[in-house]
């Protein structure tokens, strides 16, 4: 599976959060850093 590389543009994504509000990576551009945590699953 392809991995992302350091110091390259992060792939854009848009998904609804668990309340149905759309979240895009680009929502934060020029405003905030983003820490994306890929969880191993809660259960």
């Amino acid at each position: 599976m392809a991995r992302v590389e350091l110091n390259t543009p992060a792939p854009e994504f848009t998904l609804p959060d668990f309340n149905g509000n759309s979240v895009s990576l680009s929502d934060f551009s020029d405003r905030k850093n983003v820490l994306v945590v890929f969880n191993r699953g809660f259960f």
Binding site: R3, V4, E5, V34, F42
Partner: protein
Amino acid sequence: MAQLRQNYKRFIKLNTEIIVVGPEGAEPFKEFWVDEKLPFIGLPDPDHKILKLYGQEVNLFKLGRLPAQMLIDKSGMLRYVHYGHSMTDIPSNKEIMDLLKQHMTTRSPG
């Protein structure tokens, strides 16, 4: 997760939002967030769209996903990429926050 919750305010001070992506659907996500009182953004990704885009790996032997962390700066560039080699291979918040402090906080001039 508990560790991230504890440090959430410090991440916010470092102008950093936290997005947690997981393979569960919206309902279990929501229940978990409410139960654990988590302050950050939770993105259910049952179709594995983001997970595949960022190449999170599945450990076939343990039938689970391996944890991964990415830090993206304001210009959309990946500044930290960590793919866990095991279920417990997760960098400390301190490691990530130190990186933020050193390279990614914009200080007002003067």
